[in-house]
């Protein structure tokens, strides 16, 4: 089932007194989710991603715009008729019902010809439970389960009625770090097996990057960029997207273009022919630094962090917006820890230039 959003806008009346203007949670939102894909809605808190999810499931109605599931216009359809599965951030498992009763609950809501026999319902519930591997726990109460198990029950409950679309709100935020890794693989597997079009919301870029077929990066209710995770990472359209994706985060310098050369502080770091002279922001991915005793960029050396396969060289530079520059280099490289300074040359493919005012990406051809 493909999902299409056309110019969807959601405004809320302002809460604070005296402010007449509406708060725009989602502004002119258009995108298309191809059938059977896993999409991550990504952005900092308050960017409108949860509102988007609520609009998709029908708990909220858009102020304007249209939403389609396949060819059906579902804009006016209330939540109960949309046939979506929703996994809430807090899971929303009914505490007084057992796991089995929780999973049966959506099936028991069906009426008339859709209603299944008791045995068929149980069969379906167990099928969903097996899919998320909790069929051993069917008689427990939610309070007797671990966070990860509760999460699985919530997914089983969302899947049991064969939803047209599966929506997950911050599915991993209540789990500890180890479980998070495991669960996100699990979500990926379940989505692949069921082939249900799935949209999930997260503020954790790593989470979104690792399992999504496509990510949608949002800021203040506006879509910044849509694309495959690697594409977006490699080709951010603006400074916000560049900063939001990647761990360690991108290093941002204030720089300028001067006679076809990119300047950071006093150092001419790259040749960028054809660009006009102007003040710019320069983003350099941590892996874009190459240790080079003759390199153009000179930084004050602070230390080395060992991260196993790689090491990260920590340094500072007056022109850098980050508190410290982190450069990731392979562990084989030798770093002279005695020196006060460290010199880098830059890999042009990992360097992005942004307009100082609009923060939009300025493409360049490096030689």
């Amino acid at each position: 089932m493909k999902i299409v959003l056309q110019n969807v806008t959601k405004k809320f009346p302002s809460r604070s007194k005296g402010v007449r203007e509406d708060v725009v949670a989602v502004r002119d939102f258009s995108f298309e989710v191809p059938d059977g894909q896993l999409i991550g809605l990504l952005g900092p808190s308050g960017c409108g991603k949860s509102t988007t999810l609520n609009l998709l499931c029908g708990l909220q109605k858009p102020t304007s715009g249209r939403i389609f599931f396949g060819d059906d216009d579902v804009t006016a359809l209330p939540a109960e008729k949309r046939g979506v599965g929703f996994v809430f951030q807090s899971y929303a498992l009914y505490p007084h019902l057992t796991v089995l009763q929780n999973i049966l609950f959506p099936l028991e809501n069906l009426k008339g010809k859709d209603r299944l026999s008791k045995e068929a319902m149980r069969e379906k519930a167990y099928e969903a439970a097996r899919l998320v591997q909790i069929d051993e726990l069917m008689d427990r109460k939610p309070s007797e389960l671990s966070g990860g198990q509760q999460q699985r029950v919530a997914i089983a409950r969302a899947l049991v009625k064969r939803p047209r679309v599966l929506l997950l709100d911050e599915p991993l935020s209540n789990l500890d770090a180890r479980l998070r890794l495991q669960t996100r693989e699990e979500i990926r597997r379940i989505q692949r097996e069921t082939k249900i079009t799935t949209v999930f919301v997260t503020h954790d870029q790593e989470e979104a990057m690792s399992i999504s077929d496509m990510i949608v990066v949002m800021k203040s209710g506006v879509i910044q960029q849509i694309g495959k995770p690697q594409e977006v990472y490699d080709n951010p359209v603006n400074l916000f997207v560049a900063k939001f994706l990647g761990t360690p985060p991108i290093n941002v310098f204030s720089g300028r273009i001067d006679g076809g050369r990119l300047m950071i502080g006093g150092d001419a770091v790259l040749a960028v022919p054809g660009l006009d002279d102007q003040e710019v922001w320069v983003g350099v991915r941590p892996e874009g630094f190459v240790l080079d005793d003759n390199g153009p960029l000179c930084c004050n050396f602070s230390g080395v962090e060992v991260m196993g396969r790689d090491i990260s060289v920590v340094s500072t530079n007056a022109a850098c917006e980050n508190a410290a520059i982190r450069a990731i280099i392979s562990a084989e490289s030798r770093v002279d820890t005695q020196k006060k300074t460290v010199r880098f040359s830059l890999n042009p493919g990992k360097v992005f230039i942004f307009d100082r005012e609009t923060e939009a990406r300025i493409p360049f051809e490096s030689i």
């Binding site: 216009d73 579902v74 804009t75 006016a76 209330p78 008729k81």
Partner: protein
């Protein structure tokens, strides 16, 4: 396109259904509100009808065009209503004050102090919460009679002071004050009593105020105990006064004057309630019960 209109239809019928539901809900709520308010309206209305006008209404009139205050004059002159007021006021203030002192001290002991036998004592206190007052009233009546305290304020007040529930409520609140404050005060050489007065009570003021208000309501409305130990009308509280008025006051069935008395004794608490609405409702929601 047909699909589209279909949705619009469901949407429309859903909205109509919702509006119906809403109308029903408001109708129900308003109906009950009227049921609650009507007796109040009726007592105020009757209290401003003149005696003659009231008695000539074979069919009760729902409003009056010639309100009068003569019933209030009557209520305060024909029976010692003012005296009942003063009695109730004294009873309420003194009972509440003594109870607050006893409650605060006991709650502090349970919440803050360590002493041998504390847990056992607390269990006994808790179990006393379940004792119905009807069971102990009999002996208390005999005790007060034997001590010749009938028709005295002491006899009215003393058995009304205890309230295990409020000790429990306040203890819970005291325990939420961080221990660090206590140790800091101890290091500074503050005595327990001073710490209680200067730190605990100010911090827990909302709960203390709530308890005091609840006790005031309880005292103002108390009927059974005052009825048992007073038969001298100089010591009647408002409830007993009302009952006396009902049985014999104002000669024969002067209902408007009776209602004037009822309005007079109801007003103070209603005013108190409207001022402390939030506090009273929150306090009752936390486990108060009537009486």
């Amino acid at each position: 396109m047909t699909q589209q209109t279909d949705y619009e239809k469901t949407e429309k019928s859903a909205r109509a259904g919702k509006r119906m539901m809403n109308a029903l809900v408001y109708a129900l709520l308003t109906l009950w509100a009227l049921m609650v308010l009507f007796p109040f309206y009726w007592m105020v209305l009757t209290s401003v009808k003149s005696y003659g006008a009231y008695n000539s209404e074979y069919i009760p009139q729902l409003f009056t065009l010639s309100p009068t205050l003569e019933n209030y004059m009557e209520a305060f002159t024909a029976v010692p209503l003012a005296r009942y007021f003063v009695n109730t006021l004294i009873f309420t203030v003194v009972t509440t004050a003594i109870m607050m002192a006893v409650t605060v001290l006991a709650a502090y002991a349970f919440a803050r102090l360590n002493f041998r036998g504390k847990n056992a004592a607390f269990v006994i206190f808790l179990s006393l919460m379940m004792i119905p007052s009807e069971l102990v009233v009999i002996t208390n009546f005999v005790t007060i009679t034997n001590l010749s305290l009938r028709n005295t304020f002491l006899g009215l007040i003393l058995p009304s002071v205890t309230s295990v529930f409020y000790i429990y409520l306040l203890k819970e609140n005291f325990e939420q004050v961080p221990d660090d404050l206590y140790y800091a005060a101890k290091v500074d050489g503050t005595s327990d009593l001073k710490y209680l007065l200067k730190v605990m009570i100010p911090i827990c003021k909302p709960t203390i105020v709530t308890i005091a208000i609840l006790k005031v309501i309880e005292c103002w409305n108390s009927y059974v105990w005052p009825r048992l130990v007073t038969d001298d009308e100089n010591y009647f509280l408002v409830s007993n006064g009302i009952q006396a008025i009902r049985e014999s006051g104002f000669g024969r069935e002067n209902i408007p004057a009776m209602m004037a008395a009822v309005v007079s004794i109801s007003v103070p608490l209603i005013v108190l309630f409207l001022i402390f609405r939030q506090k009273i409702m929150a306090g009752v929601a936390r486990g108060g019960t009537k009486g």
